[in-house]
Amino acid sequence: MTVLAQAPVPRDVGVFEWLFDPQSWTGSDGILASLADTVVLCAIVMVVATVTMVPLASWLAHTRRGEVSVSWLVTLSRAIPTFAVAGLLVPISLRNGWGFEPWPIFIALLLLALPPIFLNTYTAIKQVDPGVVDAARAMGYSETNVLFRVELALATSVILDGVRVAAVTVVATEPIRAFLGGDGLGRYVRDGLGQNNDGLVVAGAILVAGLAGLTALSFRSIESVALPDGVRRLATTSTR
């Protein structure tokens, strides 16, 4: 790990001793800074994935264009080898002068985030009762209104579910960045392993797992607060 920056952490630190030490949290190498690093990258990945996939999948499903093989996409989304993909991209990124970071990991994570969002949006809109859509058309809704006021409205909870799955996966995978020349919250596991410091390894694991758990929880609470009752009750058709 010679090329990688190392955090100035004492050897053989106790897990909780280190976690509860305010000094561990502050500073440019502190937990808060690493956390921000991770959260920003994940947030950008999620925004890009959502703003591309939701319109694309809605349009495909609304116009019934291109039969999408859903089961094939599910398989694919489970099978993307993020570490290998990022590993392939690092040399390419460097040769193009984009540096170690964050392009390779960004693209690898994006590949991970796209399928669940696409799939949930696509299947949710396809599953909207054709009778309801016809009724809307019969009442004089324009196609745009049909899509936005009926199909997307009814599909909201399922789409949000896809976004949640994508976000949890992205946050859970992002720590490999620390092993691919970057930092982020995974750095403490890396540093702990590099220094043969089990306490730091476990503390780093707790941080990483904690963020993933927090992400899952916050999506759950968003779903229960933000969605109208009638829509939430429709959330039984998630693809996972």
């Binding site: 790990m1 010679t2 090329v3 089961s71 599910v74 398989t75 489970r78 099978a79 993307i80 080898p81 993020t82 570490f83 290998a84 993909v85 590993g87 392939l88 690092v90 040399p91 390419i92 460097l94 040769r95 002068g97 540096g99 949890v168 946050v171 859970a172 995978t173 992002e174 720590p175 490999i176 620390a178 092993f179 691919l180 020349g181 995974g186 596991v189 890396r190 702990g192 392993l193 089990d198 390894v201 476990v202 780093g204 694991a205 707790i206 990483v208 797992a209 993933a212 758990g213 899952a216």
Partner: protein, 226 residues
């Protein structure tokens, strides 16, 4: 800056490496395969048990699904790391998390597979005097097979991908080539490790696909009818 320049001119693949380091590549490939197979076998065995419980005691299906889904959302870096204090940088530390990640997909598919057997078919099998063991072996298992195979494919392919991550704890087969290349700013092993792990996943997927087709002739024919 001079360093970055050197990195930029370093070719992505240097073909002599294949010959010079063939031993190392081969070892990494075999280790990768071994870790994958051990993890999937362990995951498979555990999934058979969990699925049997979930199918036998319906109330347990929810908690079992919740548990496997929980395991699945634990970041791989964290799960590998958390076992280091107990098992060190050993194969167990790599295989246990890898197996844990297969549980969600395997149990889900096993349960779905057995639940897909229609009540009429079960009734007919029982009604003609098949023993319970025969019913499971000759009727339910073959009918669940397409689901089992589908689950196995995803489990194997995603495990091949995850094995590379186990390189962070000194295991990881082809993943080690990736990390090694990264450390030495030498792109050839990195590219080879990444490409080979993707190819390995595709190859194993193809093998299971073909084996599955062979094992479930009726399901293939149905697909072609649709």
């Amino acid at each position: 800056m001079a360093g970055l320049l050197a990195q930029a001119t370093n070719p992505i693949i240097r073909w002599e490496y294949f010959i010079d380091e063939w031993d190392q590549i081969q070892r990494a490939l075999i280790e990768h395969l071994e870790l994958t197979v051990y993890a999937v076998i362990l995951g498979f065995v555990l999934s058979v048990g969990l699925s049997a419980v979930a199918l036998r005691y319906r109330w347990s299906a929810g908690p079992i699904n919740g548990f496997t889904a929980f395991l699945y959302t634990i970041p791989s870096v964290a799960l590998f790391a958390i076992l280091v204090p107990y098992f060190g940088l050993s194969r167990i530390t790599a295989v246990v998390p890898l197996a844990a990640y297969t549980l969600l997909i395997l149990v889900t598919n096993f349960v779905a597979g057995f639940n897909s057997v229609s009540p009429e078919v079960r009734e007919a099998a029982a009604g003609m005097g098949m023993t319970p063991a025969r019913r499971v072996l000759h009727v339910e298992l073959p009918l669940a097979m397409p689901y089992i195979i589908a689950g196995l494919r995803i489990a194997v392919v995603s495990t091949v991908g995850l094995v590379t991550v186990a390189a962070i704890i000194g295991q990881g087969g082809l993943g080690r080539l990736i990390l090694d290349g990264l450390r030495r700013t030498f792109w050839t092993p990195m590219t080879i490790g990444s490409l080979l792990s993707i190819l390995l996943a595709l190859a194993l997927d193809g093998i299971i696909l073909v084996a599955g087709r062979w094992a479930t002739p009726w399901a293939q024919r149905q697909k072609s009818v649709l």
